[in-house]
Symmetry: C2
Subunit: 241 residues, 2 copies
DNA sequence: TAATCAGTTTGATATATGTCAAAATTCATG
DNA sequence: CATGAATTTTGACATATATCAAACTGATTA
């Protein structure tokens, strides 16, 4: 199995810098792996609340999250902030800035986290040589588009409880995709931040949590969440109108 | 001026197939232009209501809209439809499908329209040879991400009138970018479709239009819109809370 | 021109979420 | 472990939008 061998080696080659999201599905030769690995040797740590980048910063790199999690938020002229997304380990952050050469939102660590910097010029140069990497990069960007549009659907037509259900199920999937429990996890963000993301006030988010618990759909204690009835949560979504 | 000459030639080379969005900012040699032009010689027409692609169709190509306009909409399991975007001439449609190899939403012509098909494999191959094309493709995808996130902001925290103001100003910008009047234009979509896109009911959209007219911000007669007070519309956005 | 039909506007009422306030819980720090 | 700060929960009330219904407008067809 050519593929599994090279995948295995690739993991090793990239081990100093978690490029899961970028590497795993890509079939590369040993030499190519070396180039891939050279792409980013830097790994930097950020404490809770630290900025990975700020709005207006020049865009130069994408960042692969090695551990921890971040939120991205946009700043309105009047000072309001609104969360545009949550990124967890294994995911790529910074895709929004390619089109403008400057970051249009800011990224803040939700907990102590480590990221690997991926200079975008190098990434483009390498992906010109490696079609499979090129396609994968395109897929990552496309997935971001799809995910955003999914959120739009959610925000556009759903009521508070449906939104929260979608949010929880989405988190659950992402945890599962990374080998963690999909029914029990720790939220890294506040009710306020969830609300900002879902277009709700924190009180509404809190009430929705309480209602879910009341209906035995989940169990919540502050930020510790357990999904007790996945089918139930699923059926909540899209039974409306 | 090397650039303007080549840009001029490029326009000519691509004239049989409007690749504005894809070509204009790219600096190419004559030979490269030829390759670019060969990318897509097909130009197909669609009547109002025709499907460009349907949800589930295999992804093979992007489409450059040569004339007319489309809407993309997602289908919920229960049969509901929700508009996820409007695309006008000069724009690229189909970016969402790259990550799944299958279309996740459907694209419908809002009026009689023409599109050029851009086989994605060919586009990737060419962009491996032409760094400026590669970067531009990345920018287009990134812009889509930014635009979607912009809509999320809008849907998340804004009230009906603010949403409609953002929508109108966004349309205005896109018309202006294509050399059309930015204050007077014909809407190609119904109140229903606008509402679906903005997460509002058609009655709410209609009321917002009426209120804007009442305040002398715009003049509306059915689908003919004139923006009378651009600064006023701008100030409506983000003066909240 | 008249008739029909889809789309739009307007009105009255219901409901979900926002707002404001206070209590309860969790978290951080000494 | 105790204290104070931050976050979360809960309650009462206000308000924006949805819902239902009807009238109106403009476009299409006979």
């Amino acid at each position: 199995m050519q593929r599994s061998v090279s995948t295995f080696r690739l993991k090793a080659a990239c081990s100093n810098c978690n490029l899961r999201e970028l590497c795993l599905p890509v079939d590369l030769s040993i030499d190519e792996m070396q180039q891939m690995d050279d792409l980013s040797r830097l790994k930097r740590g950020y404490a809770r609340g630290d900025y990975l980048y700020r709005s207006g910063d020049k865009f130069q790199s994408l960042f692969a999250i090695h551990s921890g999690s971040f939120k991205t938020q946009a700043l309105h002229e009047d000072g309001r902030e609104q969360v545009t997304g949550f990124q967890m380990y294994g995911e790529i952050i910074g895709l929004d800035a390619i089109c403008t050469d400057h970051h249009t939102c800011e990224a803040v660590a939700l907990e102590n986290s480590e990221v690997c910097e991926l200079p975008f010029n190098k990434l483009e140069a390498l992906s010109r040589k490696l079609p499979s990497l090129q396609r994968h990069l395109h897929k990552i960007m496309s997935r971001e588009i799809v995910r955003d549009q999914g959120i739009m659907l959610l925000l556009g037509s759903m009521r508070a409880e449906e939104r929260l259900a979608v949010f929880l199920l989405n988190l659950s999937q992402r945890f599962a995709a990374r080998g963690l429990s999909q029914t029990q996890f720790q939220l890294r963000m506040s009710r306020q931040e969830i609300g900002s993301y879902l277009g709700l006030k924190l009180e509404t988010v809190s009430r929705a949590f309480s209602n879910f618990q009341e209906s035995d759909l989940i169990s919540v204690k502050a930020r510790a969440v357990e999904l007790l009835d996945l089918p139930g949560l699923h059926s909540l979504v899209g039974k409306q109108l």
